[in-house]
Structure formats: structure tokens, C-alpha cells
Chain length 416, copies 2
């Protein structure tokens, strides 16, 4: 894409009311725009990153046999009366002109359980794994930290349905694996730890995935040896010990919760009377698990972890474009070469952002490039052309390489 056509521009200063690093950088670089506290618009660059994160999650969910669906955000009151969660304050409520009560979904157990019930009668119909990537709405009292806590946000929620605890436990471990792969692919793997948490009203424990960042809202107690943590809520109950090795050498770290997984067991199947007939024709309750990842929050966490003074640093799998091609100074020769390169590389399937702006200085172009944070920078200038070359630099490194124009596409194929 030509940067001259991109309708957003980088902004010199982030709004004063934006305190968090993630939203300050994402707004300055033109990835997002704030509509109101807790609600952001995704602009072309941000939308591209969102789609790439969505794709990573989709691949990993399909990899553990999840079937993708899409549920409504608007729910009838009756569904939530069944579980007595209509009264929850987190739920936005509204009335139609016809005086019907609707709520906005902040989670979807109340919708997915009766839906799956339509199709499950026997043990032969189990297990079922379904997920969606969809908007959630929450009436949060404390809306802050940019993308980390919103009144509206995008979430991936997976629900699993099983005939017994053994099968639920087996799948729960599979999801743990898929989640670890997702966070690794999003380049926050080294900072993200499986964290023992309370199971709420469903079961004794659940697990969170917590990412260490200096401005995190949560607190975890981390055992570095076991790479396992305990969250603040239950650390006292755990006697300030690692749940695995029982060591008391725990480090406290500020974190952001990027995922959580729950064994719901029969909490919702009981409420909706979701039963199945086992091999012997005996009726039993279906057991359930639920597994969430906030995509907008994940995007925020990626930026919190991957940035420097100059701007964001995307990885190959999350970047909005594969490379940022810059025509440094507008002479006839540089322009002609840059245009040809842009067209040739695009034809070969490379997805480039091409800075073809005529009225910007080299300094401004470099600064925008670092702020936006695409992993590879390609510069065409009078100087490089004297050597029939292009300057190649990775966003994470200071090293600059000159690559012959004729070798560029081969070279790029190796590094993108």
C-alpha cells in the first residue's frame, strides 16, 4: 500500500488523557483512535494487526478441533434468568420499544449451552468444541489502560462439552498448549506465565495466562524455576508457595491477564438441563470448559512488551505489512527505482507499505517508520543507488545491510 494513500497519519503527541504505553504508541502511530473511555476504533494499520492476531488464534483453535461459529451480542433476559446472572452489574441492559429486556453479552455460556443442547443427545455426539471471535460488552467501573480494559472489546471464547472429567481434563491440557503457542507466536511467550487462580463458583481452581509488563494492573507470584505463578487472590491460600515445587522463592511481578481457562463442570449444563445418554443408556450431565482470550487486550500487551523509545516493534507474524519501503529523497532516479521495486515485489506477493510521500523529509520518514514498527525497513536513496543497492535494516537491530537490487526479492524471502 502507498503511504500517500493511507488516510491516517502519525500524530506528534498522544492525547494527554492516555496514560498507558500501548494506547499512546498505537494512537501516535495511527493504529487506533479513541471514541470514548474504553472504546477504540481500529484504523487501517490496527485493523491489519487485529486480523493477523485473529488468524494466529484461528489456526490454533482449528488445530485443537474447535469449530468456529458466531453468536449474537444481544441476548434475551430469559436466557440469563436461568442461571441467575441477569442481575450481574457487569451486564449492560436495555429495553426495546416493545418493552422487552435485552442484555449485551459479556460472556456466552448462557447462549452456547442451550444451543449445543439442540444437537447433543448421546455420548456419540460428544465431545463438542466451539469457539467464536466476537465483540463483548462490559459495564466496567474502572475503564483504563488503553486496550487493556474496555467497555467493548474483541474476544475469542471457546467452549468445550464432555462426557466425563477425564475427557474435560484431557482437553483442558490441550487448550493450555494451544494458548502457549498463541502467546509465543505473538512474541509475548517469554513474558507470559500460566498462573493458578480461583475457580470462582465453578471449581476450585482456574488458570490465567499473565504477561509481565511494568504497568500491569494485576500482581502474580512467580516461581522462576517451574515457570508457574499464583495470582494475588489465592496466594495466601497457597501459603505463598509454588503449587508445584512448594518453594517459597517467589517473585512478585506486575502483569496483564491475556487469557483465562475454566473448568465449568456442570454449572451451566445443570442450569439448562444439558444431559446425554452414556454407553449404557444412562442419563448424565454434560461437563463443560470455557476458555477466553481478549484480542484487543492481547494487541495492547504485545505493544507493552515489544517497543522502544522510538516506537512499536512488530514481529513477522503480527506486523501490518511485511516490509516498509522508503523512497528517501524525491529525485527522478530514486522515485523510478522505488516505484519499480514496489510494483515488482507486490507482484511477487510481498505485502509492503511504500512511503512514496513527496512532501516529507528523510528524518520524518525514518521517524514514522520506527514509530509504526514494521520489522524490515528498505531504503532507496541516491547513495544506495550508486551501488545498485537497497539499504536493509531490521527494526530490532541497528545493523544496516546493502543488498543488490537484483538480489532483493531472494533476500527478502529468507527473512520475512
Amino acid at each position: 500500500m502507498r503511504q500517500s494513500q493511507l488516510f491516517t497519519k502519525t500524530i506528534r503527541k498522544a492525547p494527554r488523557d492516555e496514560k498507558s504505553i500501548n494506547s499512546r504508541l498505537l494512537i501516535k502511530a495511527g493504529f487506533i483512535n479513541k471514541l470514548m473511555a474504553g472504546a477504540y476504533s481500529y484504523l487501517p494499520l490496527g485493523f491489519r494487526v487485529l486480523k493477523r492476531i485473529e488468524n494466529i488464534i484461528r489456526e490454533e483453535m482449528n488445530g485443537i478441533l474447535g469449530q468456529e461459529i458466531l453468536l449474537p451480542a444481544l441476548h434475551p433476559r430469559s436466557s440469563w434468568e436461568v442461571t441467575r446472572r441477569w442481575k450481574e452489574q457487569i451486564m449492560f441492559k436495555l429495553k426495546t420499544r416493545g418493552k422487552k429486556d435485552y442484555g449485551l453479552g459479556w460472556t456466552h455460556e448462557e447462549i452456547i449451552t442451550p444451543l449445543v443442547k439442540t444437537f447433543v443427545q448421546s455420548y456419540k455426539d460428544l465431545p463438542v468444541y466451539v469457539y467464536q471471535i466476537q465483540d463483548k460488552f462490559r459495564d466496567e467501573l474502572r475503564v483504563k489502560s488503553g486496550l487493556l480494559r474496555g467497555v467493548e472489546f474483541i474476544m475469542k471464547d471457546l467452549y468445550s462439552f464432555h462426557q466425563d472429567e477425564k475427557d474435560l481434563d484431557r482437553y483442558y491440557e490441550k487448550v493450555k498448549g494451544a494458548y502457549s503457542r498463541i502467546f509465543k507466536r505473538c512474541k509475548i511467550g517469554r513474558q507470559t506465565f500460566l498462573t493458578l487462580a480461583s475457580g470462582g463458583s465453578f471449581s476450585k481452581y482456574s488458570h490465567e495466562f499473565q504477561t509481565i509488563t511494568p504497568y500491569g494492573e494485576d500482581l502474580i507470584y512467580l516461581c522462576k524455576k517451574c515457570k508457574l505463578a499464583v495470582n494475588k487472590e489465592i496466594i495466601k491460600e497457597q501459603k505463598y508457595k509454588c503449587p508445584k515445587c512448594k518453594s517459597k522463592k517467589l517473585e512478585t511481578k506486575k502483569t496483564v491477564e491475556v487469557g483465562n481457562i475454566f473448568k465449568l463442570k456442570d454449572r451451566f449444563s445443570k442450569a439448562f438441563n444439558l444431559k446425554f445418554k452414556d454407553r449404557n443408556g444412562k442419563e448424565k450431565m454434560v461437563l463443560m470448559g470455557s476458555y477466553g482470550i481478549g484480542l484487543s487486550r492481547l494487541l495492547g500487551a504485545i505493544v507493552e512488551v515489544n517497543h522502544d523509545k522510538k516506537g512499536i516493534i512488530w514481529s513477522e507474524e503480527t506486523t501490518p505489512f511485511q516490509a516498509h519501503l522508503i523512497c528517501l529523497k524525491d529525485s527522478l532516479k530514486t522515485r523510478k527505482t522505488a516505484e519499480k521495486l514496489y510494483q515488482d515485489l507486490s507482484k511477487k506477493g510481498f505485502d509492503l507499505l511504500y512511503d512514496d510521500r513527496k512532501d516529507k523529509s528523510p528524518g520524518k520518514k525514518f521517524a514514522d517508520c520506527d514509530l509504526i514498527g514494521i520489522p524490515i525497513r528498505l531504503v532507496v536513496s541516491e547513495k544506495t543507488l550508486k551501488k545498485n543497492s537497497i539499504e536493509v535494516k531490521k527494526r530490532r537491530e541497528d545493523k544496516i545491510k546493502l543488498i543488490k537490487i537484483t538480489d532483493l526479492s531472494k533476500f527478502l524471502k529468507k527473512i520475512v
Copy 2:
């Protein structure tokens, strides 16, 4: 995908309260599920079709240089007070715990106009074309006809920003072209007509795209010669004449509105004071256009137009799978051949639904296949194997062909 693993099943009878053909067929075949009047869940088959329609629309929008973004569904009251549309009854309203007023977006002019204003100062920043594919919410009094009129539905909305009427007119014609291509690719092109409609408070006229179906809610007056129609609202004003050839030979047809395009002119730029400086440094109002397609409604219209007594008939571009492979009767030999075919074809990149169910009769398998409506049916049976062949049948035709197993992948490549 293996049909034995698909968590949905076909349903013998559609619910009695579903009156429209589109929702009856889509529910019976397991594409959608009704949560409440006007709100449906997309199940794995329906989700796949939705993504394919999304893809067609995305390609055509990118083709006319639209830049994709994603705006929030939850809006602050203040944005809507600016245009005095907060009072519109179609808008769902809710209050937060902190007593703030929010509305649910039923369209996005109030959000996109101030957003684009952030980035537009000069004629050099124009034109701007932005679109999104996103959930809309409407407090409809009459919710009916399955996917055709919902309280929650998926919409593509494109907004364009221009320096003068000439540029707006030029782009408006481009969008007309893109819309025609979309409806053609969705296989409702022959039934869909550009229809002159009222321009509301924005300009004299707008255009709708109306698709003829026997159970449509709308009425158009069609000039068959010009392939142009006039809607009911303004036919009197048009003196019951074709707007182009002035003929009075108009046919009345029941239709569904699948798209609409508006010249908004300065209605919203005035409200939000969206100005730009022209070549001479003179301040002028930006002119706008807005262009919508309801995706859920489009999906419904496709089914209304493309079905027969046995079920849905998808086209190559909208089908959930490229072909439906059926292992007709479970003998060791048929099973082995079907399994091998499924694996080989999948490896070659074909996206198949594979009916590997062991407990279903051939009759049930054929009926499900016709109901689901994938364009190509491949049958493996004892009979076909005697000739080392597979039976190939198109959903739209009665003709059955025997194709040698060794030639199948080559043959498929030609027809999918």
C-alpha cells in the same frame, strides 16, 4: 471436514414460527440457529458462508480503494446529539453504572465523520474511502422474515469523503459498479436491480439494490428494457414512468433490499464542521457518500433466490465447502477408498465436507446433501468402485457422471 465431527445436524422440521424460506432452509440444514426474533447464531456451515460473502465484499471494496477499519458498536450520546439523531427510535439506548448514556450503532456517520476529521486538513488529504464489516443494532418494530430484518445484523458500510460534487459523483458510479459485481458473484445478479429511491434528508435521490423474490417485503416498479426500477415511495412522484426511457411499461415486483447508496453531501460534514482547504487556500465543506450492504440479509436473499424443493443451492463462490464427498454404504472397500480420497484431495487443497457417518442410510445421506446444497456431490459406492470410479453430480443438474478415481482431482480442478 468430517461430517461425523460437525456438531450440528440437519433438522427434520423447521420451527413453526419461522415463516420465511431463507430461515426455514438455513435452520433445517444447520447453518443458523434462532436465539430470539431477529437474532440468529451462525453455526459452522453458516459461518463459512458468511466468511465467503465477506471475502467477496472485501475484494470488491479494496478494488475501489476502500480502506478497512473497525468502529465500536457502543457510542456516546454526545456524538449523536450533534446531528440531533439521538432521539431516533431505531437506536437502542442504555445507561452505564456511572449514569452515562450510550447508544448502539445502527449506522456510523456520527462516528466516522469526526474520526476522518482528525486526518483531513487540505485537499491533498482527499478523497478518503473507508469501510467496515461490523455488527449493527436496530430497535425494529417489525422483526420478521428470518435473516431479512434483524435487531442485530452484520453490515458492510463504506463512507467516502470528497472535495467537490464531481468527485463524489464519480465515486458513486464506481460503487454502483462494485455493488453489481458483488451481487453477480453472489448469484443474485440477474434478480437484482438498481432502484431509484428517495434521498431522505440528504439529497433528492438515492439508489437501492432490490432483489426480486416471491416473499419480498418491498415493492418495485421495474422497466425491463432499461433494467432500472423505481421504488414504491417515489413512484407517484416519477409519474409511474421509467426514469431513463420514460416508458410506462413497468412491472411491479416483490423484492428484498440488499444494498443502498446515498449521497450525503454536506449533511454530516456541516454538523461536525469537517472542512478542508482547497488549492487556493479557501476553506470548503467536505462532501460525503455512504454505501451499505447487509451481509446477513444478503445471505438470506441468496437462499431465497437459489433453492429448490430439496434444499439450498450454493454457488462456487458462496458454498461452505467445494464438494460433498459421500461414502454411501459402509463396506470395508468403500470406506477405505473414501478415506483415501478425502485425504488425498484435502492434501491437494480441496475443501471437502466428507460424509463419513456410519449410522446413516444412503437415502438420509442424499437428502442431507441436497438440503445443505454444496454445488458438487461425489459418491463412493460398491457400484462405482466396480468401475474404479466416483459418481459426480452437480447440485443444479440432474446429470450424473462417472469419473475414474485417477482422473478425479484433475476433473475437480476444472469445475470448482
